[in-house]
Structure formats: structure tokens, C-alpha cells
């Protein structure tokens, strides 16, 4: 094992022996592309011709007026191909897989965005593709399951454990320890054993690089604060990394679920419920009991519904170089509705957490201040969940009618 990737006390590579050689190979391949000046160019070209990079930075004039405080900008990762920042990481790892000469990719997915992005990349590069998805998430993100299968991927519903994101990750690892010769595991977030946290953050850093240039071009100054939702933490790492050397406050927003006091949430850094532990190959804050058994998490958004968090963010939390907050399911739906009405933009439920927190803080800032919200993904995938949350009678009527057609 070459390098273990620690960030303060967090990170590491708690690997079963069978995977050590595979991780050494991956790390070597990653080091090579990191030191190859042509690679980033190849990556940018791919992302500008296959996806929609650079994604725009949208001035949200109406929301700004609504809150009467800081000027609100939105970084539009929803305009990536496949509708989320996940494509940044996936296409980067896809290029890496090509260089390593592997022919099959596997991935876990929560909301389904990472799965769709991986299935898309596999289709484009000609890889076989298997996606592991918790059974609960299969139910709440059916449209994404449909697209993954149409794109040629095999979607395996995971029925073990809590049947959500963490269980999908375990299952992907079980596949990988069997098929590492031919297969690369496209981990979707800045978690897991080294080098994944570093590698995923590296590909996602394209968000922050662009956002920094764009805000300087638009406003001639840096933002006061930037906001990103935090599940595993990859979109947050992407945006934050553009401002690491700047006097910019970095705000990560976790899933507050039914409220931090309810115990039904997925807040590892804001709540007092998490503690340091080791699982899924790395050390970080986990929502776990005193024995070290992982707890159930709860969030309206499948993509934030995860027990662990990027070790890099855990280190930033302890050092105070980023601030972590949480938004409840209810606040998230309110923020989503307001953003749709005011700006004609539909954020994913995950991203809407960042919006909710920014909306709490914007009125307290001055009109001279500028903030950026990372819209990590688009919300149309959430149509079933959102329709239930807003309790739309016309939608229900449509579903009932549609179901009858299938019965006929």
C-alpha cells in the first residue's frame, strides 16, 4: 500500500487484503494523469463537447430581490449532461478506466444521478456496466432506474441492510473484490478508501475553478459565502476547492430530515449524533451507535441519505475551515417551490438543501455581498417525491389514469 491519504485524523485506506493491489494500481494511474498536463485538457475538451461545460453562473435576480440582502448567484451543475455534477467525476474516471485498459464499470447510486451518469459514460466508452442501488432508492427514483436500463446498464436492487446508499456501496465493493481484474469501481463521491476522496474531488474541482472565474468576471470580486449540499460531499468539494485560498466562507448543508432533534436525519457534521469511525474503507464521522453499528439515516433526498461523509470535509469541520448547517425536508420543499416560482429553475431535492440554507442567510448579508449556491443537479428526477410533498391532486389523477391503462 503506497499512500494512505489522510486529512487530519480522517481518510485512510482500510482495505481487505484482496483489494490492496487494485488500489495500488488505481493510485498509480491517478498519479500519472494528475502529473500529465495534457490530461486536464483532454478532460476539459470532453466535458465541453459531450457535457455542457463550462456550466453557467446564473444571477438569480428575483430571489435576490425577494430576500433583499446578498446578491444570489447559482452555479448550474444541473446543466451538465445527465443533469448533475456527477458527470464531472464519472467522465474523468471513464478516461482513467480507458487508460487502465479495463472493460467493465460498476457503481453505487442513491438518487440515481451517479448511476445514470455512469451508465451514460459506459455507453459512450463501450464498457459493460452494473449499477447497485438500494431497494428503497429504486422505489423513490424509478425514472432514473428506467434510464439506466435503457442506457444498457444492469441495475441490481440491494435488499440488504438499510437498503439505501451505504448498502449499495457495500454491494459494489463485494462485486469489485470478485472482478477487479476487468472491472473498475466508479465510486460516486469523495468518500471511501484513498485515493477516491482525492480523485473525486480532483475531477469535481472543475466546478470551483469555473465558478471563481465566472464570479470575478460578473462582479469583479469574490463571493462572501458559497453554499453546497453535503451527502458524501463531492459537489461541495468541487465548489469549495475553487476558493480554498480565498477569504470566502464555505458552507456545507446536510440533510436535516425531520429535524436534528428527531434523530431522523442524515447530518453527520452539524448534528451531535455522529462520531468518528471506520467503515466502507475509510475513517470519518459516521452516524453510528456506541458499539459502532451504523444507524439508519433519513432524508427526503436519496442522494444525501448517507451515514458517512468525505474525510476531507470532516477535517475541514474540525479545523473550522468550513461551516456546516442542515436543512429539514420541509425547508427544502419550501426552498424548491420558491426557486421554481421565482427563477424558473428546478433544483434537485439534494441541491435544494443548499438553497434553503442560503435563503436563511441571504437577508442578513448586505446588498454589496455576493453569494453562490451550487445547484448540483436538476429536480425533474424527483417528480414523484415532489408531487407527493406538494400533494398535487392533478398529478395523482394522472397516475391513477396511467395505471388503469396498464391494467387494461
Amino acid at each position: 500500500m503506497k499512500n494512505r491519504g489522510y486529512y487530519g485524523d480522517y481518510g485512510g485506506a482500510f482495505l481487505p487484503e484482496i483489494l490492496v493491489a487494485t488500489f495500488d494500481e488505481l493510485e498509480t494511474a491517478f498519479e500519472k494523469i494528475k502529473n500529465d498536463p495534457d490530461f486536464w485538457k483532454e478532460y476539459e475538451t470532453l466535458m465541453s463537447t459531450y457535457s455542457c461545460r463550462a456550466t453557467p453562473l446564473t444571477f438569480a435576480q428575483n430571489l435576490t430581490r425577494e430576500f433583499g440582502g446578498a446578491k444570489i448567484y447559482i452555479k448550474r451543475e444541473d446543466l451538465n449532461h445527465t443533469g448533475a455534477h456527477k458527470a464531472n467525476n464519472v467522465m474523468g474516471q471513464g478516461l482513467l478506466v480507458k487508460r487502465m485498459g479495463k472493460k467493465r464499470v460498476i457503481a453505487e447510486t442513491g438518487a440515481g444521478q451517479h448511476g445514470v451518469a455512469t451508465a451514460t459514460m459506459a455507453a459512450k466508452f463501450g464498457f459493460d456496466c452494473t449499477i447497485y442501488m438500494g431497494e428503497v432508492d429504486v422505489l423513490r427514483q424509478r425514472p432514473n432506474v428506467f434510464w439506466m436500463e435503457q442506457l444498457g446498464a444492469t441495475v441490481v436492487p440491494v435488499t440488504d441492510g438499510t437498503r439505501i446508499l451505504k448498502d449499495a456501496i457495500n454491494e459494489a465493493f463485494r462485486d469489485w473484490v470478485t472482478h477487479m481484474d476487468t472491472t473498475h469501481y466508479v465510486l460516486g463521491t469523495a468518500c471511501g478508501p484513498h485515493p477516491f476522496p482525492e480523485m473525486v474531488s480532483y475531477f469535481q474541482s472543475i466546478i470551483g475553478k469555473e465558478a471563481r472565474q465566472q464570479i470575478l468576471a460578473a462582479e469583479g470580486k469574490l463571493p462572501k459565502r458559497v453554499y453546497a449540499c453535503v451527502g458524501g460531499g463531492s459537489n461541495a468539494m468541487g465548489l469549495f476547492s475553487g476558493f480554498f485560498n480565498d477569504p470566502v466562507e464555505l458552507v456545507g448543508v446536510e440533510a436535516g430530515g425531520k429535524g436534528l432533534d428527531s434523530g431522523m436525519h442524515a447530518s453527520r457534521l452539524k448534528s451531535k449524533d455522529a462520531s468518528c469511525g471506520i467503515a466502507q474503507g475509510y475513517k470519518t464521522y459516521f452516524l453510528q451507535d456506541s458499539d459502532g453499528q451504523m444507524k439508519e439515516t433519513s432524508s427526503i433526498s436519496a442522494g444525501l441519505d448517507y451515514v458517512g461523509v468525505s474525510p476531507i470535509l470532516s477535517a475541514m469541520h474540525d479545523k473550522g475551515t468550513a461551516r456546516f448547517e442542515s436543512a429539514t425536508d420541509e425547508e427544502v420543499i419550501a426552498a424548491l417551490k420558491l426557486t421554481m416560482k421565482k427563477e424558473g429553475i428546478i433544483p434537485a431535492l439534494e441541491s435544494a438543501h443548499a438553497f434553503a440554507q442560503a435563503f436563511k442567510e441571504a437577508p442578513t448579508l448586505s446588498r454589496q455581498d455576493v453569494i453562490i449556491i451550487n445547484q448540483s443537479g436538476r429536480g425533474d428526477k424527483d417528480i414523484f417525491t415532489v408531487a407527493d410533498a406538494v400533494d398535487d391532486p392533478k398529478w395523482k389523477e394522472f397516475i391513477i389514469k396511467k395505471a388503469k391503462e396498464y391494467h387494461a
Binding site: 500500500m1 494512505r4 481487505p16 487484503e17 484482496i18 490492496v20 441492510g161 469511525g277 467503515a279 453510528q288
Partner: protein, 253 residues
């Protein structure tokens, strides 16, 4: 000492048998009955797994047993109490098997002190490679306990030597890629790999992953010191109940 126990015992037997249970699966009463039957049937050493909610290296059979044990109320404390009971009641060496987080949350020092106190001989922690295990190794060595390390067919010769420099008691050679409980082809490849393992360490070799029946155990005679039966025992108990454990062991010896 574990190593000398194994070497001594090997003078009388072509191959030793190590079995595995998940403590509290299906219940602690059943776990005790399985141990009792296995010891009576001639098992030479046993792994006692403390269940974990994320058993990454385990296949479907042991994974389900972990989950079920936790659902049925197995806790670390209950497992320690159980271990105390079996080490008192039965004379064979027992080892703990669990994942890093269980030991980490308990505290590496405290955990190994407990092990020493209850006469557990060593531990298998598949997600704690030596690079991440400084505190663990220190605590285990202080208590003269055996950290059991795992060799895999993917492990380079250089790394086999590196691992064996930390290993005590014996080395656990996984017979193939993948997780526990799947079929293994006992073939020439396996023999060649075991030859590599033997070169890397003077410790006894245990072979596990996919050892299910008498033919598998027979195949390992002369190539390894210990055959490890893991998932298959759980399958048998699932099908026929804890009372079938002894007959199963007698059928493969």
C-alpha cells in the same frame, strides 16, 4: 501459544479444522450449542465473529447472519460475555473475527485487554491492514495476542513477506478472489499460490473461502495446516438447526 498448539496438533492430524460462527446468530443459545457440538466433533479452533452492520468482506450468507444477529439484539458486550463463557467451558483456542470499527469504538487497548482476560488467542480483522493497524498491533503485542493476517492470491510476494512480519499464530490464506461463501475451484492455481504463501512465512497456513465438503478438506491436506469452514456451517444450521452442526463436522473429517 497458538502457533505451537497448531504445530503440536498437526503432528497428530493431517489437517486441522477451524470453523466460524456469528455470535448471536440465530440466537446466543444456538451459538452455544453450535460451539458445543463442533468441539465435541473434533474442531481444532474457532472464529467467533462479532457482528457488524457493514461486513464488506463477507458474502451473502455471513452478511445475512450479521444483520440478523444485530436485529436479534446481539451487542458487543453480549458477544464478550458469550466469548467468556465458551473459553471457560471449552478447551480449544478461540479467536475473534470482526471489522475495524468494532475494535476502534471499543478502544484498541481495552479490546485487547478484554481478549487477554478471557483467553481469546487472537483476532482476524479483514479491513485493518498493518498500515492502518499501529494501535491495534501495539495493543495485541502487549497482551501477547495473535494478530491474524490475510494473504490473497492478488498479494505480491513482496507484500506477503511484509504481512508475515506482523502476523502471529498462523496466516489466513483466502483461496480466491471475492467474498466469503462462494464456490472455489480447488485447482493447480490454488496449489501454486499456497506454495508462494508457504515461502513467505514459517507460520502455519489456514485456507478459507469456499471450503464446503470433505473433498475440499482432503485436497488441502499436505498443502495447508488448517481448513477453514465459514459460510457452510451457517447454511447447515439454517437448514437443519443448531443440532446438525456436529454431524456436519464429522461428515467432512
Amino acid at each position: 501459544m497458538l502457533e505451537s498448539y497448531i504445530k503440536q496438533r498437526r503432528k497428530e492430524k493431517d489437517i486441522l479444522l477451524m470453523t466460524h460462527i456469528v455470535m448471536g446468530y440465530p440466537s446466543f443459545e444456538d451459538s452455544y450449542e453450535i460451539v458445543r457440538q463442533m468441539v465435541a466433533a473434533g474442531v481444532d479452533l474457532m472464529e467467533l465473529q462479532i457482528p457488524f452492520s457493514e461486513p464488506m468482506a463477507d458474502g451473502p450468507v455471513i452478511l445475512k447472519a450479521n444483520q440478523k444477529a444485530l436485529e436479534n439484539g446481539s451487542t458487543v458486550q453480549k458477544c464478550l460475555d458469550f466469548a467468556q463463557k465458551v473459553t471457560t467451558d471449552f478447551a480449544i483456542p478461540f479467536l475473534f473475527m470482526s471489522y475495524a470499527n468494532i475494535l476502534y469504538k471499543y478502544g484498541m487497548e481495552n479490546f485487547s485487554d478484554q481478549m487477554a482476560k478471557m483467553n481469546i488467542k487472537g483476532a482476524i480483522v479483514p479491513d485493518l491492514p498493518p498500515e492502518e493497524g499501529a494501535d491495534y498491533l501495539k495493543a495485541m503485542n502487549r497482551n501477547h495476542l495473535c494478530p491474524i493476517y490475510i494473504f490473497s492470491p492478488q498479494t505480491s510476494d513482496q507484500r506477503l513477506s511484509y504481512l508475515s512480519s506482523f502476523a502471529k499464530g498462523f496466516v489466513y490464506c483466502v483461496a480466491r478472489k471475492g467474498v466469503t461463501g462462494k464456490q472455489t475451484a480447488f485447482s493447480a492455481d490454488l496449489s501454486a499460490y499456497l506454495v508462494r504463501c508457504k515461502k513467505a512465512t514459517s507460520l502455519p497456513l489456514a485456507v478459507g473461502f469456499g471450503v464446503r465438503e470433505k473433498a475440499d478438506v482432503d485436497y488441502l491436506k499436505g498443502k495447508a495446516d488448517i481448513a477453514v469452514i465459514g459460510s457452510q456451517t451457517i447454511r447447515i444450521v439454517d437448514e437443519k438447526g443448531a443440532g446438525a452442526a456436529g454431524d456436519f463436522i464429522r461428515s467432512i473429517l
